[in-house]
Structure formats: C-alpha cells, structure tokens
Symmetry: C2
Subunit: 189 residues, 2 copies
C-alpha cells in the first residue's frame, strides 16, 4: 500500500485495528493528486462526490457574499477538505481552492460510504472522519461566538501560527469576520 494512503488511514483508525482486507477496500477509492495553487477542487453550487485529505499544501474554502469572497476555513497537512452537504447529494455552498501547490488524497465518498452497511470497520472509520470534522465545527462555532476580533486574532496566532506564514492576511481577515483594513490595524499593536 502506498505510504501516503497509509498515513491517511492511520490518521482515522486510532480506535480500531483495520484488517488488510478493509484497508484494501478503502484504498480502492483513493487516489493521489498533485495540483497547483489556485486550482479549484470544488465549485460553488456544483455537486461533487469527493473529499480530500491534505498530504502537503494549503487549501481554503470560501463563498461569495455580494460579490466578495468570505473565507470559511483553511486546511493544512493532515486536514480533511470537503463539505458534508456534498456527501448528501446536495450542491456545495462553498468553493474550495488551493492556496499552495499541494499533494492531496482524493476520497470517493459516493462509493466508499455505501460500504459502511456491510463492513463494520469501514463504518467506524467513516464515523471517525465525521466525528473529527464535527468536533472541528463545534470548536469553530465556539471560537466565532465567544471571542471579539482581537481575541480571535490572538488565539489563531497562538494555535495556528503556520496560517500566518502561508495564508494571505486578506483571507484570514475575512475568516475572522473583519475587513483586511481592520486586521491590519489590530496587528499594528
């Protein structure tokens, strides 16, 4: 098995031991992608059968609000990229785009998901993926409601310092829910 696939599978199987058979079944629905900066993975309004796991690189998600991009999250190494909306046959609300040249694993969710009804390990594996994602969402909501702009900035700077090296401040500002001008002024202190 490809060592990159192994990394993805290990990341989500800490609570159970997968048989070789199950690993092979999962790998059947994976592939490795090398894509360049600005490449669009998932386009707003379109349906999409894949999720992605970042091996190397940086990805952002945004939607348009009155013609202005509102960034909703960023993914770096070992993060998942995608939207549950998609896995439930709904069109994506967001556009997902590469911020750096990246190596990704694509996961064919449409084909992998039905296996959860016949393979308990796959069911638990998918469970782990969704649960980590939901925990991430919970954290994000708490973060957005709990803090004022300055605190959000300081916490993000503390928790995810790599973001500030790799993601333009314009994107980070809109992620924090403020304009780039305001972020620039906060940073001046």
């Amino acid at each position: 098995m490809d060592i990159l696939y192994q990394r993805f599978i290990d990341h989500y199987s800490s609570s159970q031991q997968l048989t070789d058979h199950t690993k092979a079944e999962i790998c059947n629905h994976l592939s490795i992608l090398h894509l360049n900066k600005k490449h669009v993975l998932i386009k707003e309004i379109q349906r999409h059968d894949f999720a992605y796991f970042v091996i190397k690189g940086a990805v952002r998600s945004y939607f348009l609000k009155d013609g202005i991009e509102v960034n909703t999250w960023f993914a770096l190494e070992n993060d998942m990229v995608g939207s549950l909306q998609n896995f439930n046959d709904k069109p994506s609300k967001e556009t997902i785009e590469l911020v750096e040249n990246s190596t990704l694993i694509s996961i064919n969710i449409k084909k992998l998901k039905p296996l959860m009804f016949s393979n308990i390990q796959i069911s638990n594996f998918i469970n782990a993926v969704i649960e980590e994602y939901a925990l991430f969402l919970e954290e994000k909501i708490y973060f957005s409601q709990m803090m004022n702009s300055i605190d959000k900035y300081l916490i993000l700077l503390d928790k995810e310092p790599q973001l500030f090296q790799r993601i333009p401040l314009t994107y980070i500002a809109s992620f924090l829910g403020i304009t780039r001008e305001t972020l620039s002024r906060l940073r001046a202190k």
Copy 2:
C-alpha cells in the same frame, strides 16, 4: 418498546432496518425524563455522559462571556441536545438548560458508543446521529458568516417561526450575535 423510544430510533434509522435485538440494545441505554423549565441538563465545565432527544419542549444552550450569557442554539421537538466535546471525555464548554417544561429521552453515550465496534447497525445508527449534527453545524456556520443581522433575523423568522413564539427575544438576539436592543429595533421595521 416504549413508543417514545421508537420515535427516537426511527428518526435516526431511515437508511437501514434495525433488528429487534439492536433496538433492544439501544433501548437499554435510554430513559425518559420529565423536567421543568430552568432545569440545567449539562453544566459548563463539567463532564457528562449523556445526550438528549427532545420529545416535547424547548432547550437552549449558552456559555458565559464576561458574565453575559451568549446563547448558541435552541432545540425543539425531534432535535438532539448535547456536545461532542462531552462524548470525547472533555468538559462541556456550554450550559444546557430547559426553556419549557419538557419531556426528553436521555441517551447514555458513554455506554452506547463502545457497542459500535461489535454491532454494525449501532455503528451506522451513531453515524446517522453525528452526521445530522454535523450538517446542522455546517448550516449554522454558513448562516452566521453569510448573513448580516437583518437577513439572519428574517431567515430565522422564516425557517423557525416557532422559536419566536417559544424562546424569549433576549435569547434569540444573543444567538444572532446582537443585543436585545438592536433586535428590537430591527423588528420595528
């Protein structure tokens, strides 16, 4: 099986048929609660092994920010109540409190969750619960980032009109991220 338990189980097993044995296993970890307005289900900072399903009534979740309550969500009939943080042995960030006298099903997550490694139906059942929850969170984040205050108010009024009959406007205002004074002024139009 109690008809209320049936309602809970049916709600999360639309994609699979559960055997009587599985249903019984799930029911072993359920119980019915009748509790009064203002009762606190889960207290901030404390650990907690239970989630709840609202049969009848209204529940709110909030945390304290500089001594002021910030309401994070409301649950009515057929909604789940709880925090994934808890199911992962972390202390709750939020306090969950009844807004009306309510009938709830309590679910002992701590005991139910381990069964997902031996019973595939339970694994898929838990999957359905978490997935619905994650979809709800995705929707909530989109809602909070996409809209300005007036739009949020109008959409909430359109999508969840019952909230405005049953939940005090003070709570709804803080849920929308504005003060009760501002909400009152928005409504004046």
